[in-house]
Amino acid sequence: MSEWWTYRPSDFLMFAPRTYYRLFELHNAEIWPLQILTIAAGLAALGLVWRGAYGRVVAAVLAAAWIFVAWAYHFERYATISTAAPYYGAAFAVQALLLAWFACRRHGPRFDQQAAPVRWTGLALLAAGVAFYPMLAPFLGRPWTQVEIFGIAPDPTAVATVGALLLAKDRIAWLLVLPLLWCAITALTLWTMEAPDAAVPASALVLGVAAAIWRNRSWNPTAEG
């Protein structure tokens, strides 16, 4: 790309905001009533993380969410308006594989991080991804049909995953890389569209990075299960 320094984020935005949000409307209509299942799975994951139990189930739910978003949203839907979507889909598929590996490890993952700031940040982000995101569209004046739901749309899936992984007992900061990267990409996309939604993934990014750094500094290897 010549004269790359002259390009701005808006130069890469190739669709209108109404087209972007309409994608969710079409996507939701096509896969209905799968949303009920993914919300239930997300809430179940939230409950399990709260109790610090069944870590394998939590990781498996996250892995399933990422692979479904990779295929049904990025490859099948977003790719119709974004040339970058197949790359996003590939990244989501890689994250799904990593989470599946995490779920299948011999000792199994544990989501019972006890350090208070990290624990509450993780729970808040997980709850935001699962329970808050479906209310975002109507809160911002868009119709219910355009809601973004955990396991269906990428943003709530990534935010919830950042939250859950912050609570993991294991030292798996690298598992956070792709979810945080997606938070950055989608925040930039929404900011370029002048959409107020940008604040949510941007906040998740800042909180996620800060909590991960805090956790890493206070990590005690002898406490790992």
Binding site: S2, T6, F15, A16, L23, L26, T80, I81, T83
Partner: protein, 308 residues
């Protein structure tokens, strides 16, 4: 954006009301055939306002949005428009244009302008053929090398296509002032028919060298981003249109900004992109107005907007 939409709709409503009441107005002058400019290399006349498709026509598989774009095209052709410009870089826009053309029965007046945008000359022909199938046209009227990507390889291939009768015109494009030295070099050395550049009331770099060179070399000029993707309309829309805008038949900022561009004698066609029927009618309406600002008035227009 909302402000601009309201303003433009209000203007159009006013025009309709004026026509219904038989009242004289500036808008009444916006009737009849659009102003045309001759393509220097052939003498063929084309309307000075065309239709861009960046962002606005990239609506994916959304059936309602595709039909809405087809209605924009219907209004464009009904008002006398001809040139529609697209690129393989514009996501689903080529497919959406093809959908519209099929729905409208492939209007004979279409002037199809597309681009080749791929690294390496070897892959150019396949991309052009894919684009042609998406448009569902027998051949393109104009093919351009998009943003000069691999132009050294693509341009000779496009010129061969022109010699073989597989495309009527050949050109190169850039946007937002990038690579103007390369553009000038190509204009001076290659037998191109068109150059596409960014030109608007605030981005006027091309006035210094590229537009005079186009006149000297007999190259048509297509203007992209005449509204800076709507930003100029939104920014100017916060201020009142000067009273003297009526002297040049302008009753909205969109008319004011577009008229500034098409009034330049070396501009062949401006291609504002829109997905809105009212906006495309207003854009073409500007080309149907017989009043264009002269050089002194254009300076006044630019100075006024710069001072806002």
């Amino acid at each position: 954006m909302a402000r601009a939409v309201v303003d433009r709709r209000a203007v159009l409503a006013g025009v309709a009301a004026g026509l219904a009441l038989g009242l004289p107005s500036n808008a009444r002058a916006q009737t009849g055939a659009p102003i045309t400019r001759k393509i220097p290399s052939s003498g063929e006349a084309i309307p000075v306002v065309g239709l861009g498709s960046w962002i606005t026509f990239n609506v994916g598989n959304d059936p309602a949005a595709r039909d809405a774009c087809a209605e924009v095209m219907r209004a464009f052709f009904a008002a006398g428009g001809r040139m529609i410009d697209c690129s393989p870089m514009y996501g689903s826009s080529q497919d959406v244009i093809g959908h519209g053309l099929r729905k409208l029965g492939s209007p004979a007046s279409l002037f199809s302008a597309d681009k080749v945008w791929i690294s390496g000359g070897a892959r150019g022909p396949a991309q052009i053929e894919t684009s042609r199938r998406r448009w569902d046209v027998p051949r393109f009227d104009l093919l351009q090398v998009h943003n000069l990507l691999s132009w050294e390889e693509h341009l000779p291939a496009l010129l061969r296509m022109k010699a073989d009768g597989r495309v009527r015109y050949v050109g190169v494009t850039t946007s937002e002032g990038r690579r103007h030295r390369d553009i000038e070099r190509i204009m001076a050395s290659q037998p191109i028919d068109f150059v596409q550049v960014t030109y608007n009331i605030l981005d006027r770099d091309v006035e210094a060298r590229i537009l005079p060179l186009a006149r000297e070399r007999g190259i048509g000029v297509i203007v992209n981003r005449p509204f800076r993707e709507g930003v100029l309309i939104r920014q100017a829309g916060r201020h009142r249109l000067p009273a003297w805008a009526a002297e040049i038949g302008c009753s909205s900022w969109a008319q004011f900004l577009l008229k500034f561009v098409i009034a330049h004698p070396d501009v062949t066609c401006a291609i504002p992109a829109t997905g809105n029927v009212a906006h495309v009618q207003e854009n073409i309406g500007v080309a149907r107005s017989g009043i264009l600002p002269d050089a002194a008035m254009r300076r006044r227009m630019a100075e006024y907007v710069e001072a806002l």
